[in-house]
């Protein structure tokens, strides 16, 4: 940032006018004056010393301190001057007067010619200042003379005192008062003469101060100016609209100034007032920053410059009052992070103004831009501050680290788009999803071949040189990612940049990556997601978080020793003894990519930080089977990410790999033990287990504390990405867990009629939703138990396996008895393997009571990690217990389609039922909503359309609308409801041909707005989906229709169709 800050003075002048500069001059002057009064009041200084000091103090208060020189000339007797003093023609003078006699002259001169101002090159304010100082000098010299006299007097008095002790105080008082005018009064005098605005501010501050310490006189004074409301409450009518309070004559304010300070003098010791003054004056230093920070949309370069200037001053931090501090930092939080109050409220507790000075040194963006840092960056920065705060207190956390990071503001993408004339991309989001899918690869290439504006390139150059040759990761940090409840994670790209080669090559690789992340803003998945949630019209901007990759070099590779992601809520419980609050960690050796994403054919190690003893895979064979097999790492020779066989890698690099014994165990004689010193990596059977990391280090304790801390401070469950470079544990990312992939929370709908519920449960529920289920495979528990032969049970497994390949993928669920995947004792459950069920979307285990006892369910343990990695959801059902509901009748009375799909197994129709959901509810589907937070789940039949409900509501609107009153000519239906394809969250798009006044238009919009909200509420009860108002109303006028502009094209264009809604016109 440094370059931008040095050049910014000019910008300040040009853009911001003289106000700022003036203000700064004022502060300089006051500062100077204050220091002079201090010198003057320092009785330890001799008069000569004092005068010399004053001369040296003065130049900084003038406009051009480096060419300013000062001299005090005491009428031939003595002279005090700055070292650089020279008589020039650009001089201003003021007489020093004592007892109405001129005794000397104060001179200020510029050594060079400067442009013309009020008095030669000097400002009007500088004239006032020089006069004020001269007058002060006069008083000072006079005082000193009196003092000398008094000194003699005191000596005499001392003698008297010994005799007349009783009168001591009085005499002392007399001896003091005339002698010393407190410095605050001196300042006040000066302000009266030179700076009425500062005077007014100080007066206000003093008034508040007095008011706060409940000074009666001030209270009375204020009451006089602004009578408080309750003083005569009968006069005020609270029930309705009332008159504005009376405006008082504020000329009073100036006049009360005297009164206020009189009062102050009476009740506050002089020394305290001086201190107050000193503080207030100091605080005034922060005024420019305060003012700048409050400006909405202040350009990046201005606020950065202001912060920099402010912190360049010595003791800058000490000089901000707590209130100013708060208002500056909240303004900065809003400016750079988010307006969201939840965030601001937390962030303001942890950020200092100073943090922003540091932060902005790492921000790159359009100098005149007003972009934010985006959701991800905001999240990481806040987490970082919260943890840093805790690190001071908590020894366990003391060595937590954070990766070096840079930030690109969210509007950089706009400047990139404008710079390359790519403005047409803004309509991409409104295209047909198929078109988007087709265009995306092309768009990405266009972005990659575009260039960045010069100022951004320069910024990126700084980033490159700062990161040296450390690999970097470019992460998306969009504005929508900041919103609670939306899971954009994984929808936008994050890319590794190996950061190899010459500076120019590295710069281009970085730009390439950024362009690609930018292009992902327009890729089909996030747009589809936004469309579904009604976020399409949000003005999405893409910030970028650029972090160093945490890791260490091993052989030709760069990788973290381990990395992963920790969740404060466990959404995949592998045992009923684990609660959601116990959290979960997914951890892998090498880059965290394999822990963050689900790989399908590889497994991260899962562990609950609060219940580490309850392993997912307690059996040795399972631990081997479900141990990570591959590692991702950056190959520093080729610059790409290699996926490497983990065991092979450890064999080859055992000696270089830091803390290998934390990560692997040795499999020997049916046991897994951490490697001891003697182990031979070339021969040992290495298995990744993290045993020692979990048992011998404080890793789990750290993660546990971090999760608890962040969850408490942010007041929401969080997930945290971490990595280790072989020494420290780094926290890379933090966000609300509700934003994590696949675990977005939706509440269970409450208004589903009983006859549409298939099952509901309140036990062991994790968060997730499965929609559009078309088939249910139901193995009837009793019938299964009744099978008399082992072969028959194996046959059931075979049927399930074949259905798994025949039924549409992820459009069916499995329901069956006891423990799916039993081996050996297969009476307990159908003996399927994971491959036999891998296309289901959900697996349910039904525990029906048998002879007074409930069988224990498996929780999917036989292939738990396979389920997790494929996102197959698991749910246990206890139909004979408590509140669990299972509408078995629904499944048994519907037609069994098994023989149609698998004619060979007609024999088993009574054991296995294949139910097609649309047989039960024509055109409908089954939805399962699981809300882990509330611990409830419901599966219910969903009718096919959202159309009829919407059609009915449009009728209601048409009936309620008074076209006369609101100036409505016609109303048309457009969009998805007109097309007959509304989803559960689709807006009802209305086109209103409007012919009324502006006032009518406003009223109409309010009216529609209320309807929209009402419908959204109804829709939420109906579907469980949250939307912001369900009406999307577009107003068109005759003019629009004539011009065929925007929405009017719906009516005028031959390619579009609308449906006219009949209004109640002839009433």
């Amino acid at each position: 940032m440094a370059q931008e800050i040095t050049m910014d003075d000019k910008i300040v002048e040009s853009t911001n006018g003289n106000m700022m500069r003036e203000l700064k001059e004022r502060v300089k002057e006051l500062n100077c004056f204050y220091q002079i009064t201090k010198v003057v009041n320092d009785s330890r200084l001799s008069i000569d010393e004092a005068l010399q000091k004053i001369v040296n103090l003065m130049p900084p208060a003038w406009q051009f301190p480096e060419i300013t020189c000062v001299r005090i000339n005491l009428e031939g007797r003595k002279e005090f001057k700055t070292e650089n003093y020279k008589k020039t023609k650009w001089t201003q003078e003021s007489d020093i007067v004592v007892e109405e006699k001129k005794i000397g002259r104060l001179e200020v001169a510029y050594l060079e010619e400067k442009s013309h101002a009020a008095e030669g090159p000097f400002l009007l304010e500088e004239r006032r200042l020089i006069d004020a100082i001269a007058s002060l000098l006069g008083k000072f010299i006079e005082e000193r003379r009196i003092k000398e006299e008094l000194e003699q007097q005191r000596k005499r008095l001392d003698y008297v005192q010994k005799i007349m002790k009783a009168e001591e105080k009085e005499i002392a008082a007399i001896s003091k008062t005339p002698a010393q005018k407190p410095d605050w009064e001196v300042i006040l005098d000066l302000l009266v003469k030179t700076d009425p605005r500062t005077l007014l501010r100080i007066t206000r501050k003093m008034t508040y101060y007095l008011y706060r310490i409940e000074n009666e006189k001030v209270t009375a004074l204020l009451n006089r100016i602004a009578p408080s409301i309750d003083s005569d409450s009968s006069a005020v009518d609270w029930r309705g609209i009332h008159m504005p309070n009376q405006r008082q004559d504020l000329a009073d304010l100036v006049t009360i100034q005297k009164e206020v300070f009189e009062i102050a003098k009476e009740c506050i010791p002089a020394e305290d007032i001086s201190n107050l003054f000193a503080n207030w004056m100091k605080q005034d230093k922060a005024r420019p920053l305060l003012l700048q920070s409050q400006k909405t949309g202040i350009p990046l370069v201005e606020i950065a410059g202001e912060l920099n200037r402010f912190f360049d001053q010595p003791d800058a931090e000490l000089s901000i009052s707590p209130e100013d501090q708060m208002s500056i930092k909240t303004a900065l939080i809003r400016r750079f992070f988010t307006d969201r109050l939840e965030y601001v409220n937390v962030a303001k507790m942890f950020f200092d103004v100073f943090d922003f000075d540091f932060l902005l040194e790492h921000v790159v963006g359009p100098a005149q831009g007003t972009g934010k840092l985006g959701g991800k960056s905001s999240g990481v920065l806040l987490a970082e501050k919260i943890i840093e705060e805790e690190m001071k207190k908590d020894d366990v956390l003391k060595d937590i680290a954070f990766p070096k990071s840079w930030y690109l503001t969210s509007d950089s993408i706009l400047s990139f788009i404008h710079y390359n004339d790519l403005d047409e991309v803004s309509h991409v989001k409104y295209l047909d999803p198929i078109e988007i899918r087709q265009e995306q690869p092309f768009l990405e290439q266009i972005f990659k071949h575009s260039t960045f504006p010069y100022e951004i390139v320069e910024g990126l150059r700084r980033i490159i040189s700062d990161f040296k040759d450390n690999p970097i990761i470019v992460r998306s940090s969009s504005l929508l990612e900041d919103n609670f409840g939306y899971a954009f994670s994984g929808k936008y790209k994050s890319l590794f940049v190996p950061n190899l080669g010459t500076e120019e090559e590295r710069l281009h690789a970085l730009m390439d990556a950024i362009a690609e992340v930018y292009a992902s803003t327009f890729s089909p998945d996030p747009i589809e997601y936004r469309r579904e949630r009604g976020l399409l019209d949000f003005n999405e901007e893409m910030g970028i978080l650029i972090q160093e990759v945490v890791g260490t070099r091993v052989g030709p590779y760069f990788l973290p020793t381990y990395a992963g992601v920790a969740f404060s809520r466990n959404e995949f419980r592998w045992s009923p003894r684990i609660s959601r609050e116990d959290g979960m960690i997914r951890i892998v050796p090498g880059l965290g990519t394999r822990a963050v994403d689900r790989m399908g054919n590889d497994y991260p190690i899962l562990i609950s930080p609060k219940r580490p003893n309850l392993q997912v895979n307690p059996l040795v064979e399972e631990r081997i089977k479900y141990s990570p097999r591959f590692m991702d790492m950056i190959n520093l020779e080729t610059g790409i990410i290699d996926t490497v066989d983990a065991v092979k890698f450890f064999r080859e690099h055992a000696d270089e790999f830091p803390n290998l014994s934390d990560i692997v165990s040795i499999h020997e004689s049916g046991r897994l033990t951490p490697p001891n010193v003697l182990f031979n990596p070339k021969e040992a059977d290495i298995v990744v287990t993290f045993s020692n990391l979990f048992e011998k280090t404080d890793f789990l304790e750290k993660i546990k504390r971090i999760l608890a801390l962040l969850e408490e401070k942010i007041s929401t469950p969080v997930d945290v990405e971490f990595a280790c470079d072989g020494k420290n544990l780094f926290i890379l990312q933090c966000r609300p867990q509700s934003q994590s992939r696949d675990i977005e929370r939706k509440p269970v709908p409450k208004d589903i009629p009983e006859d549409r519920k298939l099952f509901s449960t309140k036990k062991y529920v994790t968060t997730g939703q499965i929609e559009n289920i078309e088939y249910i495979v139901y193995v009837i528990p009793e019938e299964y138990t009744n099978l008399t032969k082992r072969e028959q049970m194996l046959k059931i497994a075979k049927i399930v396996s074949e259905l798994n390949t025949k039924l549409p993928k992820r459009k069916f669920i499995l329901m069956g008895p006891g423990r799916w995947g039993s081996k050996g004792d297969i009476k307990l459950g159908v003996p399927v393997r994971y491959g036999d069920i891998n296309n289901t979307s959900m697996m349910l285990e039904i525990a029906k009571e048998k002879g007074g006892y409930i069988p224990e369910l498996s929780f999917g343990t036989h292939f738990f990690q396979d389920l997790v990695e494929s996102n197959i959801r698991y749910l246990p059902l206890y139909p004979d217990q408590g509140e669990d509901l299972f509408n078995e009748k629904m499944l048994c009375e519907s037609q069994n389609r098994l023989s149609e799909v698998l004619p060979a197994y007609t024999n088993f129709e009574d054991v296995v039922r294949l139910v097609r959901v649309s047989d039960i509810i024509p055109g409908g589907t089954l939805s399962v909503v699981m809300d882990g937070e509330a611990n409830e789940a419901l599966a219910y039949l969903k009718p096919a359309d959202h159309l009829s409900w919407r059609t009915q509501k449009i009728e209601e609107i048409a009936q309620a609308l008074d076209p006369e009153l609101y100036g409505v000519q016609e109303m048309y239906l457009i969009g998805s409801t007109k097309d007959g394809s509304p989803g559960p969250t689709s807006d009802i798009d209305l086109l209103v041909h409007f012919k009324g006044s502006d006032e009518q238009k406003d009223k109409l919009m309010v009216w529609f707005d209320e309807w929209g909200k009402k419908l959204a509420k109804e829709n939420k009860e109906r579907t469980g989906f949250d939307t912001e108002g369900l009406l999307d109303v577009h107003i068109i006028t005759d003019e629009d229709i004539k011009k065929k502009s925007s929405w009017a094209s719906h009516i005028t264009s031959p390619y579009q169709t609308v449906r006219k809604i009949s209004l109640k016109k002839d009433v």
């Binding site: 592998w574 045992s575 009923p576 003894r577 054919n601 003893n613 309850l614 392993q615 997912v616 307690p618 059996l619 040795v620 081997i624 089977k625 097999r629 065991v647 020997e668 004689s669 049916g670 046991r671 059977d685 009837i780 009793e782 019938e783 299964y784 138990t785 009744n786 099978l787 008399t788 082992r790 072969e791 028959q792 049970m793 194996l794 423990r819 081996k823 050996g824 004792d825 009476k827 307990l828 393997r833 994971y834 491959g835 891998n838 048998k850 002879g851 069988p855 224990e856 498996s858 929780f859 343990t861 738990f864 078995e888 009748k889 048994c892 024999n907 088993f908 129709e909 009574d910 054991v911």
Partner: protein
């Protein structure tokens, strides 16, 4: 199907709600099988009564203080089916549900298995009702120790010898052994089997089952006047048993044209075929630790990648199903090529009774599982012997002794089968049961 009709009737009257009936019962099945052989052996009623049921059943509570401080009471049990020929031998399993009949059936099966291999051990089985997925390692250790404390007096190197089983491992056995030694005040490595070599385990254990199959096959081929070096074999599976079977078979000069494996990546089974015969070394090199053969590399090495069931339909002399139960059923048995002369069961129960009937009619010799894969239990016996005398053999010694035992066991069965013209599995059962019955008689029990 019979089942179907019965169910239909049920539903007609009660709709959704069904009455619970006696479903599959493994113990009943084991008893039926015993009865059939007992008939053939003409056993007297008392002997039948004695052998149809376990001699002793222990069932007891194991209170455990859990990690969170609460107390939970678990159920432990041990079934000793018969120890007339020697101490009981059998696994300890962790199992989530009380299935006493399964355990009874398994303990009976162990009696016959030890007997057919002619080792001086009886049959037992036991366990704890629990799901280790819900237990920490420390809790599992407490459970193991708690189990021993309740039953220490009734097990031991000369009473009843536990071994790892479903969901238990060598680690559990070591805790059990340690607790037992603490109670008894001495070193008793012979209490359990399945120990690591450092703590009194036997060498040659990984090879034992696979080699045992081939020892028997070798002798069987001699009897059938077939040159082992000229035979071709297809093996189902590529786990321990399959691999060591193949290893020894190849050493003897035989040809193995096909093996199969579970593909972890694609979640399905594949057979790998090479007309000229597989080379074990090159296949093991491209097999991961989970037993999945790398498909691409295998193809590079000239192996044909075929569907999982393909091993069964090869034109070979010998089939070794060594992976899954019920692999040869009445549905696919007719796909077996006429050339096949021998099916030797490496896995447990790979041939259904119906399929076995069919094969018998076709003149195929089926060597039953409890004879063919007895190499494992024989090696456990060797482990116990070595532990008891605190003297340990080399691998060659172990495998040599194993060869003798298996060969002997086979000839006893084969001789009877030839003489009585009965199928091999029946002969094996008859020998096993009669040996136990004899021992009971000699002891004067019946």
């Amino acid at each position: 199907m019979q089942v179907k009709q019965e169910l239909k009737q049920e539903k007609g009257t009660t709709g959704v709600f069904r009455k619970e009936k006696e479903g599959f019962n493994p113990f009943k099945m084991a008893q039926q099988q015993f009865d059939r052989i007992a008939d053939q052996l003409n056993l007297d009623e008392q002997t039948r009564e004695l052998l149809r049921n376990p001699l002793r059943e222990y069932s007891f509570s194991i209170p455990i203080r859990m990690d969170d401080g609460t107390i939970k009471v678990f159920r432990g049990f041990r079934v000793q089916h018969n120890d007339a020929r020697g101490p009981c031998k059998g696994g300890i399993r962790f199992h989530p549900q009380e299935t006493q009949d399964t355990v009874r059936a398994l303990s009976m099966w162990m009696t016959w298995k030890c007997s057919v291999a002619d080792i001086p051990l009886g049959g037992g089985k036991g366990g704890i009702i629990c799901d280790p997925h819900n237990l920490s390692e420390r809790e599992q250790e407490k459970l193991c120790r708690g189990w021993v404390r309740q039953i220490a007096r009734d097990i031991g190197p000369v009473r009843d010898v536990p071994a790892p089983d479903v969901m238990t491992s060598g680690q559990h056995m070591l805790w059990i052994m340690d607790e037992y030694e603490t109670i008894m005040g001495g070193q008793y490595p012979g209490l359990i089997t399945g120990k690591p070599v450092e703590l009194g385990g036997s060498r040659g254990r990984t090879e034992a089952t696979g080699y045992g199959i081939i020892y028997i096959l070798r002798e069987l081929l001699k009897e059938m006047k077939m040159d082992i070096a000229k035979t071709t074999t297809s093996i189902q599976g590529f786990g321990n048993v399959a691999r060591y079977s193949a290893e020894l078979l190849l050493q003897y000069g035989g040809t193995v044209v096909s093996v199969s494996c579970w593909d972890q990546v694609e979640n399905r089974t594949y057979s790998y075929y090479k007309k000229t015969g597989i080379k074990l070394d090159e296949l093991i090199k491209i097999t991961d630790r989970f037993g999945t053969i790398d498909k691409k590399q295998a193809e590079k090495l000239g192996y044909e990648n075929r569907p999982g069931d393909d091993w069964l339909t090869q034109d070979v002399d010998i089939l070794i199903p060594a992976a899954l139960e019920h692999s040869i059923t009445e549905e696919n048995v007719n796909q077996i090529k006429p050339r096949v002369k021998i099916v030797i069961c490496g896995a447990n129960g790979p041939v259904t009774p119906e399929a076995e009937d069919y094969l018998e009619k076709k003149g195929v010799i089926v060597v039953p599982d409890f004879l063919a894969n007895a190499g494992g239990v024989v090696c456990s016996y060797f482990e116990q012997v070595q532990s008891n005398q605190n003297y340990y053999w080399t691998k060659e010694e172990v495998l040599g002794k194993l060869d003798n035992k298996m060969t002997d066991a086979f000839y006893k069965v084969w001789e009877l089968s030839k003489r009585k013209k009965i199928r091999v599995s029946d002969a094996a059962y008859m020998i096993a049961i009669s040996r136990v019955a004899e021992a009971c008689k000699m002891r004067g029990w019946v």
